[in-house]
Symmetry: C2
Subunit: 454 residues, 2 copies
C-alpha cells in the first residue's frame, strides 16, 4: 500500500475507450417506449434529437467504445483527474478505514458533466450540427455544454429554469462567458414557453418545462439544431466511465482495491461513471463482495422510496417512457440544496442493477449532508458541491461503521464537483437556516397515481 | 519540442526548497524603516507581528531555503500544478508564437495565495501561535489564510473591507466554511475601527484601514495573536517561487526555454513567484536575452507611473516604510475590477530589478483585459480571475507582436487564479457596463506630495 495522498496518472494513461456495461449485464434492459405511440422507440424516432453516432451508442453491445482523439484531446485539459487519499478526514473521524476520493471538480466547468458534454459536442459536430439546444436546472449541465460547444464551434442555446436564472446569476454568467445564449424558462422563444407565460407571466419554471422548450427548439428551429441531455441515457452514463476507469488504475497505484464504492445519484450519470468499471468486476465474479452504494437526497428518494414502473422522463410527457424507479413525472421536488440530484426518475441500467441487488441505495438528509461537506472542506481543503456532499456523507457513514466494527476497509467515492457556485447554500447552512425535509408518502402516492398506462 | 498540451510533474518533483533571490541580486535592498522612529527596523521590531522564522527569512541570504515537510505535505493537495500549452489560443491569434501557462487556480482557495499562506500558518504553529489576524480586500488572501489556518489548527480572524464584505458574500462564505471569523472593516472590534465608525457609521472601508485593524488585533489581543501579510514582503515572495521552479522544469519537459515570461503585478508576490527562478538565469548570465514583463492595471500603475521613494506600506502609516515605486500611501484606487492588483506600492526587490532594467512593466486597460480573459476562457476553457486576465492580456500582446514580426518565440505566463468568484465583473463586461479608466496625473501628484520625509 502506498503512503502517498495523491495519485496522478500520466497523460499516456488517459483512457482510450469508454466502458459499456450493456455488454456485461446479466439481463436485458426493458424496452424504451415512444411517448406518443407507447411502442418501442427505434433509431428513427430519435434522429430529430440526436446524431446517429449517439443513438447507436445508446443500444451498443460492445464492451469497449473508442473515445475519438479530438475528445481525448479536450479531456487532456483536466484529465486524468487526481485521486486522493483523505488522510486528514480519516484522522478527524478516527476511523481505521482508508478513504480515497476521485476529484472531478478540476474540470473547467467544475464537475463531471464535461465528460459527456465534450463527447456529445464532438459527435454533433461530426454530423454537421452547428447548434444545440438544452435545458439546465442548477446550471452544472448548462455550463458543461456551453464550454464543450464553444470548443467545437457549436452555438449553444440554454433554457435555464427561471428560479435558477434569477437566483444563480454567476452560473448564468459562466455560460455566457463561454459564448452560450441563456434564456429564462418559460421563455417567449417557444410555443411551450409562450403558452405558460400567457397563463402565468411570473411562472418560476421547472426542469420539465425547460426540457419541453429545448426539445421544441431542436425540432422546430430554422437553423438545424439538435438536443442534448446531461444524464439518464445509456450513452451519457457510458461517457462518464472515464472516471471509474481512471480511479481503478489509481487505486492500483495506491496498492488497494475498494471494499465499498460510493457515489451520489440523481439521474445516474455520475454514479454510473464512477462505479460501473467496478460493477464490471462484480458481474464477472472478480470482486463478488464489493459493495456499491448510491446516495440520494431524502427529499428525492427515487431508488429508496420510488415505485418500479414505466414513466416519462420529463414532466411535460414529451420524453420517452422508461421502466424505472420513479417518484412520478409530475413530482415537484422540495427546494432543498441538492442541485442536480432533484430528479424524479433514474437511468434504466441503474434501476435494473438495483432490482437485482447488485447495488445498494441510501437516502440522506440535508443537514447531515452539509455537515459532511463542511467537515470535508475543513480537512481536505476542497469545498464540495452539494451533490458531491451527498457522496461524502455516504463515505463518512461507512467510515464511522468501520470505526465501530473495527474494520480497516477501503472506501472510495467520487467528488463529482466543487461548490464555488453554491456558496449561498453554505451560507444558509452555517447560519442555521437549512432544515431537513421528510417527503410525505402522500406526495409520492399522488404522483405515482398519474403514471402512464402501458 | 513536445507536442503535448499539458505538462504534469510527478509528486517526487515537488520542489524541496524555495528560491531566495536575495542571494543573487547584484545590489543591496534599501533598508526598511520603522514607521515611528524612521530608523532601520530590526528583528525585535517585527517580533510582535511575525514568528522569528519568517523574520529570519525576510533577511536571509541563502539561495535555497528548505520547505518544511508539513508544508510540502499540504502543497501536495494541488502541487505540482499543471503547465499547459495554449494551442487553441495560439490558433485563435494566428500567431507563430508558442504560448505556455502555469495554472495556479487549481489550489483549494483558487489562486497562488495558499503557497505562502500554508507556509506562514506552519511557521506560526511551530512558534506556538494559535491565532492569526489579517485583512483582505478582494478576498483571495483571506480565503487562502482561512484554508491554511484550518489545516494547522490556527484560528483566523479576517478584517474584510466593508465594500467587499457586502458585495462578495460568496468569498466571505468560503472563508467561513473553512472556519475563519470574518468581520466587515471598519469593525467594532478594534479602536481603529470604532473610531472610524463613530465618525462615519456607513464607512465602506479601505485596505489600509483593514490592515490597521488586523495589526492592532495582533498586537493587543488577549489570546496571543500574530499578523500575516499576503504579498510585498520578501518571505512572501520567496514562498511563491515554487511556481516558477516547477514551471522551469515543466518547460524543460516541453523542450523549450521562454523568450519572454509574463505575470500580473499588484504587491508583487505572484510576479516574483513565477518569474524569479527565470530572473536567476538572467542574473547569472545563462539567459541574458530573456525578457521579464510585469503587467499592471492602468488604474494603479505603480511601476509605470509611480515615483521611486520611501513610503508607507499601508494607508494608515502603521506599516514599515519601504523604498519603492509608489502612487502614495494615500492613493485611493478607482473601482476597477482588478481584484488584488489595486495596491499603491510594490515589493522592494521588484522595484530594484525594475530600476536596474532587468525587468519591464506595462500597464493595460480594463476593457482590453476582460477581452483577453473572455478569449482565453473560450479557447482554453478556464475562466481567469481578473488579476490573471492582466497576465493573459500581456501574453496575447506579445503573441500578436510575434505574429506581426513573424517570430516563433516562446511566451510563458502565470494564470494566478480562476474567476469563479468574480463572475459579477464578467457579467458587467459582457453587458457593456465596464469602462476604461485613465488615472489623472493630478491624483498621483497629490498622493505623492504626502510621502514621508526620511
Amino acid at each position: 500500500m502506498s503512503d502517498a495522498v495523491k495519485f496522478v496518472l500520466p497523460d499516456a494513461e488517459l483512457p482510450r475507450c469508454w466502458y459499456n456495461i450493456q455488454a456485461d449485464l446479466p439481463f436485458e434492459l426493458p424496452a424504451v417506449l415512444h411517448p406518443g405511440t407507447k411502442k418501442p422507440v427505434g433509431p428513427d424516432d430519435l434522429a430529430p434529437l440526436f446524431p446517429m453516432a449517439l443513438i447507436q451508442q445508446e443500444v451498443a453491445r460492445e464492451r469497449w467504445i473508442d473515445i475519438p482523439e479530438p475528445v481525448r484531446d479536450v479531456y487532456r485539459l483536466w484529465r486524468p483527474s487526481p485521486l486522493y487519499r483523505a488522510r486528514r478526514l480519516e484522522e478527524a473521524l478516527q476511523t481505521p478505514a482508508r478513504i480515497y476520493y476521485k476529484h472531478e471538480g478540476v474540470s473547467p466547468a467544475g464537475s463531471h458533466k464535461p465528460n459527456t458534454a465534450v463527447a456529445q459536442a464532438f459527435y454533433n459536430r461530426e454530423a454537421g450540427v452547428r447548434r444545440i439546444a438544452t435545458e439546465t436546472g442548477a446550471g452544472q449541465w448548462g455550463s458543461a455544454l456551453a464550454f464543450a460547444g464553444q470548443l467545437f464551434g457549436i452555438d449553444v442555446k440554454i433554457y435555464m429554469v427561471r428560479v435558477s436564472y434569477d437566483q444563480k446569476p454567476y452560473r448564468r454568467n459562466l455560460m455566457e462567458t463561454w459564448g452560450a445564449k441563456v434564456v429564462a424558462s418559460p421563455s417567449p422563444d417557444t410555443n411551450a414557453g409562450r403558452k405558460v407565460l400567457a397563463e402565468d407571466p411570473g411562472c418560476s419554471g421547472s426542469l420539465g418545462l425547460a426540457i419541453s422548450e429545448a426539445v421544441e427548439d431542436a425540432v422546430t428551429s430554422q437553423t438545424p439544431t439538435r438536443y442534448s441531455l446531461g444524464s439518464v441515457l445509456n450513452h451519457v452514463l457510458m461517457h462518464q466511465t472515464v472516471i471509474g476507469l481512471e480511479a481503478k488504475r489509481q487505486l492500483d497505484l495506491a496498492g488497494v482495491y475498494p471494499d465499498v464504492v460510493v457515489a451520489c445519484i440523481g439521474g445516474g450519470s455520475n454514479f454510473a461513471g464512477f462505479t460501473y468499471p467496478f460493477v464490471a468486476d462484480k458481474l464477472s465474479g472478480k470482486a463478488s463482495r464489493l459493495r456499491v452504494v448510491a446516495i440520494e437526497p431524502a427529499a428525492t428518494p427515487s431508488l429508496t422510496r420510488g415505485v418500479y414502473a414505466y414513466d416519462y422522463g420529463d414532466t411535460a410527457m414529451m420524453a420517452p417512457i422508461v421502466k424505472m424507479y420513479t417518484l412520478g413525472h409530475g413530482f415537484m421536488p422540495a427546494p432543498i440544496h441538492a442541485g442536480g440530484l432533484r430528479y424524479h426518475g433514474m437511468a434504466s441500467s441503474i434501476c435494473e442493477l438495483y432490482r437485482a441487488q447488485l447495488i445498494e441505495a441510501r437516502a440522506v438528509q440535508q443537514l447531515a449532508t452539509f455537515e459532511a461537506g463542511v467537515l470535508f472542506a475543513r480537512c481536505e481543503g476542497i469545498v464540495p458541491a452539494p451533490e458531491a456532499a451527498h457522496a461524502i456523507r455516504g463515505a463518512i457513514d461507512e467510515a464511522i461503521r468501520c470505526r465501530e466494527e473495527g474494520r480497516r476497509e477501503v472506501i472510495a467515492f467520487n467528488l463529482s464537483g466543487h461548490g464555488h457556485f453554491d456558496m449561498a447554500s453554505y451560507e444558509k447552512y452555517l447560519a442555521g437556516k437549512l432544515e431537513d425535509y421528510e417527503l410525505p408518502q402522500a406526495d409520492i402516492d399522488r404522483a405515482v397515481a398519474a403514471l402512464p398506462k402501458v
